[in-house]
Point group: C2
Chain length 106, copies 2
């Protein structure tokens, strides 16, 4: 499904409650209907030259830029965002309408 992807990358602080932050992000994604899909993962290449220190990637999909904007202002997101930022050393975020050039068929 095409749509707009909200991609976030993070480098967590030493001692941050990473497992809890990941669990709460999953809950948030499952609870909010405007989030159409959510996937994430932890870098296995572990090459700082390429990762720029970011270890985790989170990809949320929305139907429209309006839905992303609504998500940004949503009280549940604002509340979670405070905890997330408190636990991270670096955050990267971009929003892009996704162009799907090849789809997995199996």
């Amino acid at each position: 499904m095409a749509g707009i992807k909200h991609l976030v990358m993070a480098k967590f602080k030493e001692g941050a409650a990473v497992e809890q932050l990941l669990l709460d992000m999953k809950k948030l994604a499952l609870e909010l209907d405007i989030i159409k899909s959510f996937e994430w993962g932890e870098d296995v290449m572990k090459n700082d030259k390429y990762s720029h220190g970011f270890t985790h990637t989170f990809i949320f999909m929305f139907d429209s830029a309006e839905d992303v904007a609504a998500y940004m202002k949503h009280p549940r997101h604002v509340e979670y965002g405070k905890k997330f930022r408190a636990g991270t050393e670096k955050i990267l975020a971009v929003d892009f309408p996704t162009v799907i050039d090849k789809i997995a068929t199996a």
Copy 2:
């Protein structure tokens, strides 16, 4: 489909042949069978504080880490990589086994 995602972000150089680089990347993704899916997009948030200057995101999916490794060494990738690096000011890349917590149903 779960798998391992190879995510690349780029900031192109002033004057780089961006359209050609994008077209050649699409060709590469379509030609190589080990690339199971390929999507990309250009950031619309355009907030350097969050994007760290990266403007384009490319997401390739593979079945396994072995397939990513094979791709890295593939002559077609090595050849393309030279042109890509020559046209970019900054590159970010991570590989992550993807955890799908919510799937788009429509």
